[in-house]
């Protein structure tokens, strides 16, 4: 956390790009906590390698309108963290309530206008070669 805070202080500008994998979501199954390697960020067609198996080629597009990203967090956790000993009892009650009707907090993160649309690379041998090189 401290390291993150430190890096946050140093950040001047943040730019966001949406990586759209809708085109390949039917073809591949992305496991949780998969490793990724993103190369060619300084080119027009970046390459994304997921879990050393799938090689995706990206192409920049502009959005129609604006993409706004929202994150969701559970409110009970916040209350639990910030409450003193007396309020803990109330927190316990809220925990019970949240289990019945879980309430989430919505928070906007950013708005962006760039989309990187990915599609599967047709040559699988290249994938293996690239994977070996990565290793």
């Amino acid at each position: 956390m401290e390291a993150n805070a430190a890096s946050h202080d140093h950040e001047d500008q943040d730019e966001y790009v949406l990586l759209n994998l809708d085109g390949v979501s039917d073809l591949i199954d992305i496991p949780p906590n998969a490793k990724y390697v993103l190369t060619g960020l300084d080119t027009l067609n970046p390459v994304l390698i997921i879990d050393d198996k799938f090689k995706l080629i990206g192409e920049y597009e502009e959005t129609i309108g604006t993409c706004i990203a929202f994150t969701e967090q559970e409110a009970a956790v916040v209350h639990e963290e910030t409450g003193p000993s007396e309020v803990n009892i109330f927190s316990g009650t809220r925990l019970i309530d949240s289990s019945q009707a879980p309430t989430t907090q919505v928070k906007p993160v950013c708005q962006l206008h760039k989309v990187l649309k990915f599609k599967l690379s047709p040559d699988s041998e290249i994938q293996n070669v690239t994977a070996k090189e990565a290793k």
Binding site: E11, N33, E72, Q105, P108
Partner: protein
């Protein structure tokens, strides 16, 4: 955060959480975008609801703003964050190493990138954004609310403000929703059923020939150019039925350029030819035409022949006969029975017409007086729309002659008085025509009006020729006088006495102008005509197609 080295980064994909909103606009800020989506509370509520609908109002201050709906759909997106980091405070060793490595990189710092989020869902606005109906009152109210919100609370509770607002609310009318559907749909129209039209069996000639023909029906009498002659032999195969029929009709028009339909039809029937009405119409349309007005109204005229330029066409002019009102019950009775006379008998004055009005052609009428009059030289140099080549006097005289002839053959009692009146009128009109012709010779006039008329006509040089023709008419009159003398003996005394008793005054007038023998001659002539026609027996009636 991983530093980008040679355009490459690596890491681990995060857990899926959060959502995207593909906002169909370019908001000035994220907070404004959140406001148009109803605020954080509304977004949370939409996230929990089952309808999966997120409302977007482009003008959230307007209570009548119609929302656009966003639909939640699964997606698979990653959020890549790229940031620039400042270099750490300079250290002597680090500074030396960095300067030796890359001076430019030292100045710019380093770029960092990382995939910070993974979104499994997103809202898409595929619906139609309804027309945003903005009323000036709404705009004012919206502006007012903004001011109230920004200003102090005291102004918000001002009575004047409330009163104004209430007053304006009365004027506000909810704008109509332009479309009941939010999402466009594809409408599949039913294909139009093609109705197949059956061709007539009589359609033998190729249609392009008849389509290229110039119009022949109901041509205006004042048209400059009449339809030209058509070489129909090129379009009809020789030896076919069409050829035979067309040849017959074509020859009839070579003999006589103008035909009435009744006369033409009966003649064709007499030749043993019988066909449908539409077939006859097509045969006639190829070689003839007719006017919609004028002295040849609805008579079929040979193509290439202009009756308006040929004075000889006067013998083919048309005249109407109308049944007197007291005798129309006779026509009503027979029209119910739908019995018909032969056209030849009608033109020969052997039968009384069944119709109120009959169109007759001069050429067809079997009457010595009419035939002698129409064969005289033309009265005028041009053909007019009203009376053609004849004067109005002559037309009136011929029409009165028709009246006398038809009333004399009326089969039921009750027409005697009408016949006598018509006869007297005819004699009077005939004398007027005769006197009119005589005055052209320059004789003295008895009335001032007639004198004026004579002066006007004398100015026209061609009238002098007609005056000379008038002399010929006088000679013919004398011939009739001689012929009438031969039939003096058969006169029945009873009818003569009745005639004399009913018209003593008229007889006295006749004595003043003409010798007494002339009266007897006229009466004897009429009786002679009757006796003469009794020789012919009535032919059997055949049905022929009427117009």
């Amino acid at each position: 955060m991983g530093v980008i080295k040679d355009g490459t980064i690596s890491g681990v994909l995060p857990e899926p959480q959060g959502f995207m909103v593909h906002y169909p606009a370019y908001p000035s800020s994220i907070s404004r975008a959140v406001d148009t989506l109803g605020g954080i509370q509304a977004i949370q509520k939409a996230r929990c609801s089952k309808s999966n609908k997120l409302e977007l109002r482009f003008r959230p201050e307007d209570p009548y703003s119609h929302p656009a709906f966003g639909e939640l759909r699964p997606t698979n997106s990653l959020l890549l964050k790229i940031s620039k980091t400042k270099p750490p405070p300079p250290v002597h060793d680090a500074e030396a190493s960095s300067s030796s490595t890359n001076g430019e990189q030292d100045q710019e710092g380093s770029l960092c990138a990382d995939i910070v989020a993974r979104f499994p869902e997103a809202y898409f606005f595929y619906g139609m954004a309804d027309y945003q109906h903005v009323i000036p009152v709404h705009a004012d109210v919206a502006r007012r609310k903004k001011r109230n919100w920004s200003e102090l609370e005291e102004l918000h509770f001002d009575k004047g403000g409330f009163m104004d607002l209430d007053h304006e609310d009365v004027m506000i009318i909810v704008p109509p929703i332009f479309a009941p559907k939010d999402v466009p749909e594809n409408l599949v129209l039913r294909p139009a059923t093609m109705s197949s039209s059956k061709k007539k069996p009589e359609e033998v000639v190729q249609p392009h020939f008849e389509m290229d023909m110039e119009p022949v029906l109901a041509i205006d009498f004042d048209i400059k150019e009449i339809p030209k002659k058509v070489n129909w032999e090129e379009y009809i195969p020789q030896g076919s039925d069409q050829w035979e029929l067309q040849m017959v009709v074509s020859r009839m028009f070579d003999e006589r350029p103008i035909w009435s339909k009744n006369s033409l039809t009966e003649l064709l029937l007499d030749k043993g030819l019988s066909f449908s009405h539409s077939m006859l119409r097509r045969l006639l349309s190829r070689i003839s035409y007719y006017f919609s007005s004028g002295p040849f109204l609805r008579f079929w005229i040979k193509k290439g022949y202009d009756p308006r330029k040929d004075p000889n066409s006067r013998i083919y002019q048309r005249i109407d006969y109308r049944v007197p009102v007291p005798l129309r019950s006779y026509c009503d009775a027979h029209s119910a029975n739908k019995s018909k006379h032969r056209w030849k008998d009608i033109c020969a004055f052997r039968v009384f017409p069944y119709k109120f009005q009959t169109s007759l052609q001069f050429f067809d009428l079997v009457d010595d007086y009419i035939q002698s009059e129409i064969n005289k030289p033309p009265f005028r140099p041009t053909c007019t729309s009203g009376t053609g080549w004849f004067s109005q006097h002559m037309i009136n005289c011929i029409r009165q002659r028709l009246m006398v002839r038809y009333l004399s053959v009326f089969p039921k009692p009750g027409a005697e008085n009408l016949l006598r009146a018509a006869t007297l009128k005819f004699e009077k009109l005939k004398r007027e025509c005769y006197r009119h012709a005589m005055k052209l010779d320059g004789e003295e006039c008895q009335q001032a009006n007639l004198g004026l008329e004579e002066n006007e006509e004398l100015d026209n040089g061609e009238d002098e020729e007609e005056a000379a023709e008038g002399n010929d008419s006088d000679e013919e009159w004398e011939e009739e006088h001689d012929l009438a003398g031969d039939n003096e003996m058969p006169l029945p005394s009873d009818s003569y006495i009745n005639f004399e008793n009913l018209s003593r005054t008229h007889l006295q007038d006749l004595f003043v102008n003409f010798p007494p023998n002339e009266i007897d001659c006229d009466n004897v002539q009429a009786n002679g005509s009757e006796e003469e026609y009794q020789i012919y027996g009535e032919d059997s009636e055949d049905n022929y197609s009427d117009e």
